[in-house]
């Protein structure tokens, strides 16, 4: 390898990224826009603020008892009763997600409660009335929370506050309040964005090699004293430099959107180290793709064989860990989640193990890519 040749080829690669709009978008603008857009979309979700569910209430009874029930729903602090006059509008709003549930208080509800309070020990004296409840079946939380909250409000209406704490021989101790970091959905996604940003290098590397092969440039370089190691070395260096900028873009954009990682300088260095190992791996995937693809168009398509699993199993998309372990991006996301969100020590056994596994993975892939491309890539 000669430094002058490697430097010239590296400069050429970096100019390609900067000057070709498609590359510029994939490498820099895509992670920037993705991070900013996700910050806007998910930055406010899961901040630990009050969670409330709107309940449409159709009060056909209109007695002090039904009003008392509605007041108890409101007192729950979780349910927000909204009065509706007709069932059609209420169910339409439920279907459109404007309310989470519809509660219909039937006529005669007050009479039932009156009879119960007058004769609590004689069920045969109570005229039975039924509260009708419709729920948003698309939300598991609504399905589990709203009925129990309404049951609780009804119990308080019938029996008073003491109904919530009946005499019991067992008590729950006062909970120890532990201060925890309130994470937004965006915070949880950020570690995966570091992986997401660099996995498209597979496509770019495969396109570089197939295009240069198609256009006869590689053949032209082959009649100079340039060696294969000069070409592969420059490709690796250029992509590592690109990766550094990509990591910085994700850091800055996520910080602007409110992400505050734990782990300090050590965490930042860990992010650079492990993400750059993933860059190396994706350069290898790019070489394997370029070996298989006959044209740059085919390379674009084939590269998704490597991009999609990393995207879906190893970034911010929840995936079963047993499968995710097979994709390299999993180790980046997992490590950065531990360091940035849980404050794990950067020298912890788990972090070092993940970096080690990814290093072996990446070096194996790049070695395989170089061997395959050198042997079969110039056909």
């Amino acid at each position: 390898m000669k430094a002058q040749r490697v430097q010239a080829l590296t400069k050429k690669e970096l100019l390609r990224v900067i000057r070709e709009p498609a590359n510029l978008f994939l490498v820099f603008l895509f992670p920037l826009i993705l991070t900013l857009a996700f910050g806007v979309a998910f930055g406010a979700i899961g901040t630990g603020g009050d969670i409330q569910y709107s309940v449409a209430v159709i009060d056909l009874d209109s007695t002090s008892w039904s009003e008392g029930l509605v007041a108890e729903l409101y007192n729950s602090g979780v349910l927000v009763p909204t009065p509706y006059t007709d069932a059609v509008t209420a169910h339409s709003d439920l279907q459109q997600g404007r309310v989470s549930a519809v509660l219909t208080i039937p006529k005669g509800f007050g009479d039932s409660v009156e009879a119960f309070t007058a004769n609590p020990g004689n069920p045969s004296a109570w005229p039975v009335s039924t509260l009708e409840l419709s729920l948003d079946q698309g939300s598991m939380i609504v399905s589990s929370v709203v009925p129990s909250m309404i049951q609780q409000a009804l119990s308080v209406s019938l029996y008073g506050e003491e109904a919530l704490s009946p005499p019991s021989p067992v008590k729950i101790g006062a909970p120890l309040m532990v201060e925890s970091v309130k994470l937004t959905q965006f915070d949880i996604m950020v570690p995966g964005m570091f992986s997401y940003a660099v996995i498209f290098l597979t496509m770019i590397v495969s396109q570089v090699f197939t295009e240069e092969r198609q256009q006869g440039i590689l053949k032209r370089i082959a009649v100079t004293p340039t060696t294969a190691s000069d070409i592969f070395g420059a490709q690796i260096i250029a992509n590592l430099l690109t990766g550094v900028v990509q990591i910085m873009v994700v850091f800055v954009a996520s910080y602007v959107m409110g992400f505050r990682p734990l782990g300090g300088i050590g965490g930042v260095l860990t992010a650079f180290t492990i993400t750059l190992l993933l860059v190396l791996c994706n350069v290898g995937f790019g070489l394997i793709t370029a070996t298989l693809a006959k044209s740059s168009g085919a390379a674009t398509g084939l590269s998704f064989i490597f991009i999609l699993p990393q995207m879906l199993l190893g970034s911010f998309v929840p995936a079963p860990e047993s499968v995710a372990r097979f994709v390299p991006s999993y180790y980046v996301t997992k490590t950065l989640t531990n360091v940035f969100l849980r404050g794990a020590d950067v020298l912890s056994q788990s972090t070092i193990l993940n970096i080690g596994i990814l290093a072996v993975y990446s070096l194996s892939v790049i070695a395989l890519g170089v061997v395959l491309y050198s042997r079969y890539g110039n056909r």
Binding site: A8, G216, K219, A222, P225
Partner: protein, 247 residues
Amino acid sequence: MIDAIKIKGLVKRFGDITAVDDLNLNIMKGEIFGLLGPNGAGKTTIINILSGLLEPTSGSAEVAGYDIKTQSMDVKGLIGVCPQHSAYYKYLTGRENIELFGDLHGMPKKLLRERTEYLLENIALMEMADRKTGNYSGGMIRRVNLAMALIHDPEIAFLDEPTVAMDPQSRRATWDFIRDFRKREKTVILTTHYIEEAENLADRVGIIDHGKLIALDTPCSLMDKHGHENLEDVFITLTGRKIREDV
């Protein structure tokens, strides 16, 4: 005279097809050698073997005294190859494309800058030198293609159809450039479809057909020997085809 290139019994087969058939040829240092032949005759295959892109099936060749099989890196340091189809980086400027190939040949930076200026001036590309080659006309691209091959001032230049798609003015400039090579004792192997180009430039021409060297001499001697007034007629007599019939 010293031989720049020595070829002995060179054969190249692709499966059942023999692209180069027992070629024996010596090209002298400082000579402009025209390699003529119809499309598919084997000219580009010969250049590819001599420049180390292809391995011969049998036979041997030396370029500037180096064996092409065992000393290909030494050969590559001394040759410049201008391919038939322009190969360049569209996103680089003309200057950057030329300088890149100088760097690949390990030229000292100062010399590289001076040589780039000299070439840009001589191929009349100084004004467009800092624009991306993606915006160049066909003729300008051909000129950059030539400059990329000659940036390191090679001892031996393989020019495969160097003036295709050039306007007459650029072609004349390229011819002057090639003649200047000869003055400086450099060797040029020129393949061309333009018979007048070979007549004007080449000290000797070799006519290749079906991989075989069927004639070898100076243009004048070939015309005298076959009783023709131009090389085109000699070519037709020998091959039964016009050189440019399928161009």
